[in-house]
Amino acid sequence: MTRLLAASLALALLAGSPAAAESDQEAESFIRSLAEKILRLREDKAGEAREKVLMELLVKNISLSRVSRFILGPYARDMDKETRKAYKELLPEFVSKVYVRRLLTYEGEVSLEVTKSVRKGRRGREAIVYSMATVENFDEPIQIQWWLLRDREGSYKLFDINLNGFWAAQWQRAEFVSQLRKSNGDFAQLMATMRAQIGGAAAPSPPGVSAPPPAAPAAPAAPSAAQP
């Protein structure tokens, strides 16, 4: 028994560490700075002032053109210029109220530690920054990965964020594409739904529901819960 245990532990330690990929210190600094600004908002501002600053932060730091196109999936090409303009104006508010506000309204302590980064893309214009958020009342820290794009001037913008294994833009895309499929590509209906969600997010949430950020548990899944 002891030998078997020793052998299994030795086996467990046999794994070699993977070769280190090139890190991106600037990308890491960008995320530290962005996270600090968002978390500081929780303390410094309230109400409309906070909403305003948050919107400015999002517009400045998210690659809205990329994200807005991506989450429309194959339907993006079918959107005319006028609708596109309205849609792109609506998106920052949607992201702000449906996603980020949950973090701001959470009353527990939240801290973020950047752990590493990896450059990607042949031109090195993308980076994945790994971080870990510690949230009060959560048993385990939340693993967060940030997918960043760097423009010609060297400025970074956020394209997608992965919370505990779930890419947010892909999640949103699944919803939008499904809605567009059901409505035969009716963008007006999609934007009406977005506005309704913005309105719904503005309303107070039931007790106990608004507290944790959406991707905090290990894995959202089906109600009946079996996953073969």
Binding site: A12, S68, G121, N162, R181, A219, S224
Partner: protein
């Protein structure tokens, strides 16, 4: 230990063979009338969205989803709420540990089949430590000394060997799956070493452990699923997407495979706001297998 580990193996504990034939026949008949209509090639957006969803049985799947949701509302959620209120934290933890320990032999087998020797060593160490010092798995001694739990199943092993995921399937009362994962679940039912241990009341122990795991998992997701449902435009589509992302993560053992993410900077210049809308769909396809 996370919720995934708790859930893993539930199918193997509940998928009783005698009910399979009748269920399969019923599913077949429903499937014939429940196929989604493939949009014509001329409707490029809808056609691409259809292919991307990889859900040819969507009407049938949505029916099963609603049925399952209703059953959840009537039975499972109320039980889970009571459990959540009354069950002490240490007891819940013990239950999860016990259930996870029961599934460790199967995980060990898949670790070996996947050639993952480090994880096989961890599984073996966990099994030995937790079954003995951990009092039949009730205490996760291995985690205390830095050997965390992980889970593997036949669906993941098939994926490692390159078997494609296949279409999405929503199994009534069991949840989201795929052809590959569901087939793997059936294989796991027969392959699980616990099913062959010669002890009295083996089936009963597996049944009770499985049922308790379902309730425990549901209790742990009451808030988050309620929130996802409340904020979703299409709850069914969201769960389908989350299921797929989660499975990808499980197959990669929790890692992000950067090589599977598309190279955005090579495809177009994201400084150009308007042009981003007219890009090739390769980026979209690259992100969604």
């Amino acid at each position: 230990m996370n919720a995934i580990a708790v859930r893993r193996g539930l199918l193997t504990r509940f998928f009783a063979p005698p009910s399979c034939a009748a269920a399969a026949m019923g599913v077949f008949l429903l499937a014939v009338s429940g196929c989604a209509t493939r949009p014509p090639a001329s409707d490029t957006g809808a056609r691409a969205a259809y292919e991307e969803a990889n859900d040819p049985l969507e009407p049938l799947n949505r029916y099963f989803f609603e049925l399952t949701n209703f059953a959840d509302f009537l039975f499972l959620r109320p039980v889970a709420e009571v459990y959540d209120d009354l069950m002490p934290r240490f007891a819940r933890k013990g239950l999860r540990n016990f259930s996870e320990n029961l599934s460790t032999p199967l995980t060990l087998g898949h670790d070996i089949l996947q050639g993952s020797w480090r994880r096989a060593g961890e599984s073996l160490a966990r099994l030995l430590l937790n079954s003995t010092l951990g009092i039949a798995g009730l205490i996760d001694v291995a985690a205390m000394i830095g050997i965390p739990a992980h889970s593997e199943d036949a669906g993941q092993t098939l994926a490692v060997y390159g078997v494609p995921e296949g279409p999405y399937i929503f199994l009534p009362f069991l949840g989201p799956s795929s052809l590959r994962a569901a087939s793997g679940g059936v294989a796991d039912y027969y392959a699980d070493p616990i099913g062959y241990v010669p002890i009295e009341g083996r089936r009963f122990i597996r049944l009770v452990a499985g049922a308790a795991s379902v309730v425990d998992f549901r209790a742990g997701t009451l808030d988050v699923l309620s929130q996802v449902e409340r904020t979703s435009i299409d709850y069914y589509a969201v769960l389908r997407e989350l299921y797929r992302q989660n499975r990808r993560r499980e197959i990669l053992n929790g890692e992000i495979d950067i090589s599977t993410l598309p190279d955005l900077s090579d495809d177009f210049d994201f400084d150009m706001e308007e042009e981003a809308f007219h890009q090739d769909d390769s980026i979209s396809r690259g992100l969604l297998p």
